[in-house]
């Protein structure tokens, strides 16, 4: 029994997959704190879909996938900013138009060259079959993101909470905005490998949303988010070995289970805790003559 539980660790490809997942999950979880508080969840979804044509082109040309994905993501972000600035169309509509356009282009490209680009791998992820070169790219992207966040998380927190105060203190709000957008694109690119384009947004939102229910401190929220992302990604990949199911599905299902648990049982913001507080308030009300 015990030996069968350790079975995945006997395969090098599994060990690589597990640790790569954990790394990606941790970085996404860390960033998800900023994404959820800034209200950029839809933006995360959009960018993760918009990177698909870039990945397809990169594979076709034999370039590193991260370069293609990143370029494509930035083009999409630029296109959104441009359309939003030039037209009175609402922001969510702009995001909807641009990211579906990019995604459609990606699907078209992949369908035109089915033998050279792995559609399933891009849309649903293929961490168990990840190539060494791709692991290196993921590690580099993650390391850069972690470094930037370690150095600048306080500035980014102020930017999310009160951009006017940041501006009043002479901080470059435009630069912070772009930094956060770049981090979002970069992590979306990395997460593509783990869970695929369809589920990247979950990695960028669910851990942060869960952590938000569990604490009232931003620093703690970041830590919880990163830990949740890493642990669920590790065990999600691990479970997918036994279930022989989609890794992305396993990881995101685990994250959702933890979110639901937090939703119900969180000490302060959970459903049961709110009910308790309400009941206590009513009792106090009744006690006052």
């Amino acid at each position: 029994m015990f030996t069968s539980l350790l079975a995945p660790f006997h395969y090098d490809y599994m060990v690589t997959a597990l640790w790569t997942s954990a790394l990606i999950g941790g970085v996404c979880g860390l960033l998800s704190g900023f994404v959820t508080l800034k209200g950029w969840s839809l933006m995360g979804d959009a960018l993760s879909h918009a990177v698909v044509p870039g990945v397809a082109i990169a594979y076709l040309l034999g370039l590193p996938f991260a370069v293609g994905a990143f370029t494509s993501g930035l083009l999409a972000a630029g296109a959104m900013a441009f359309v939003k600035m030039k037209t009175p169309v609402r922001e969510d509509a702009v995001i909807g138009i641009v990211f579906t356009a990019f995604f459609a282009l990606g699907l078209l490209l992949i369908s035109l060259f089915p033998s050279r680009v792995d559609l399933k791998g891009i849309i649903f992820g293929n961490i168990l079959g990840i190539a060494t070169g791709d692991v290196v790219q993921v590690v580099i992207v993650s390391a850069v993101c972690l470094l930037v966040l370690a150095l600048k998380w306080r500035d980014l927190m102020l930017f999310c909470f009160d951009p006017n105060q940041a501006r009043a203190l002479g901080l470059r709000v435009g630069a912070l905005h772009v930094t956060l957008l770049l981090l979002l694109s970069a992590t979306a690119v990395a997460a593509l490998q783990a869970v695929g384009a369809m589920l990247v947004v979950a990695m960028l939102v669910t851990p942060g949303a869960t952590a938000y229910l569990l604490t009232d401190r931003f620093r703690v929220m970041l830590r919880i988010g990163a830990a949740l992302g890493a642990v669920t990604s590790f065990f999600g990949a691990y479970l997918s070995y036994f279930l022989d199911g989609a890794t992305g599905g396993c990881i995101v299902s685990l994250q959702t289970l933890i979110f639901v648990a937090a939703l119900l049982f969180a000490p302060k913001h959970g459903v049961f805790a709110s009910r308790r507080t309400l009941r206590r308030a009513r009792a106090q009300e009744a006690a006052v003559p």
């Binding site: 009043a168 009232d216 703690v220």
Partner: protein, 328 residues
């Protein structure tokens, strides 16, 4: 938790102040001047919110920025803070561009309650620490001086005991005090407050006014945007009247005339002329004025302003008494 606001913020805040002096070296830093020079702001949609707006103020004063909604009040605020760049004209702080003043952390901003995300997971202490970013290094790691400044500021507004609360778990008045504390921690020499008395109980309003007076006496320039006319003569030394441009600016007693206010407010002002009133003459001055939220502005026949708080206005009171005697 009850709001502890009885005139002064709290006994403790007052008592400890001597022990924790304000972080800003007020005596060595002379008052700053703030000037708008022919400022015009046109938004990308073609709306010109403000044109030819000019005024000049110098530190050691409390000035009200008065105008109706849509008069360009908040646009002028944004221009002064450097949040919007004037299409033409310029803003100068101590004769220098706004950007320079920002780098020096000279201008502190107390936002309207609606502008703040109260569900953000930050504590009272965290928020006040955000006033110190300009003094920190690249990594924004708080030094002992930063912590002292935060503590001093929080004690000064009587919120030190609440430092670990999440900001959403405070009353309206407490929330306002936290952001005033942030401006103090920033050691802002010009402090802009956007509608500071909306959603605040009378006790807190009085306490904030008392604090603003202290800050003025330390040589700071306090600019308060408000549409609450009645309280303006009470605590503002100067007024800038706005309606798409600066209509008038200067000492309150000179600017706050029925004529100027009618120009600034147009039809938005309700006027009750008691001379034409159904209140009988023999009622004399025994007229009770009730209002639900804001204080009404009461003007005498010669433009005399009504002051409830008469400390520091002894000269004015005796002048008026002389006038009264001369007449009878």
């Amino acid at each position: 938790m009850p709001t502890r606001s009885c005139g002064r913020f709290s006994a403790r805040g007052t008592r400890r102040r001597a022990k924790f002096p304000l972080p800003v070296p007020t005596s060595s830093s002379p008052p700053l001047s703030l000037a708008a020079i022919d400022v015009a702001v046109t938004y990308p949609n073609g709306l010109t919110a403000l044109r030819d707006a000019s005024f000049r103020l110098a530190g050691g004063t409390i000035c009200a920025l008065v105008g109706v909604n849509g008069s360009g009040k908040s646009t002028l605020f944004k221009a002064l803070m450097g949040f919007v760049t004037p299409t033409t004209g310029r803003v100068e702080i101590d004769g220098r561009p706004v950007r320079e003043a920002q780098r020096q952390s000279w201008v502190a901003y107390v936002p309207q309650a609606e502008e703040v995300d109260w569900t953000f997971p930050v504590s009272v202490h965290d928020v006040v620490m955000m006033g110190r970013y300009g003094y920190m290094n690249f990594l924004r790691i708080a030094s002992a001086a930063d912590r002292t400044a935060v503590e001093t500021s929080l004690r000064r507004v009587g919120m030190w005991d609440y430092r670990d609360r999440q900001i959403g778990e405070l009353s309206g008045g407490q929330k306002k005090r936290v952001f005033v504390a942030r401006a103090l921690a920033q050691a802002g020499r010009i402090i802009l407050l956007d509608e500071p008395f909306t959603g605040v109980d009378v006790g807190t309003e009085e306490a904030i006014v008392a604090l603003l007076r202290e800050l003025r006496d330390e040589g700071r320039l306090i600019l308060v945007s408000t549409h609450n006319l009645g309280s303006v003569p009470e605590f503002c030394d100067q007024v800038v009247l706005i309606n798409r441009t600066v209509l008038a600016y200067g000492p309150t007693s000179e600017v706050f005339t029925a004529e100027n206010l009618t120009r600034a407010f147009g039809g938005a002002l309700r006027l009750f002329d008691l001379a034409q009133s159904t209140v009988n003459d023999h009622d004399g001055r025994s007229v009770t004025v009730l209002t639900d939220d804001e204080r009404p502005l009461v003007l005498g026949k010669r433009g005399h302003l009504e002051y409830l708080d008469r400390t520091g206005r002894e000269k004015l009171m005796s002048d008026r008494e002389e006038e009264q005697k001369g007449k009878s």
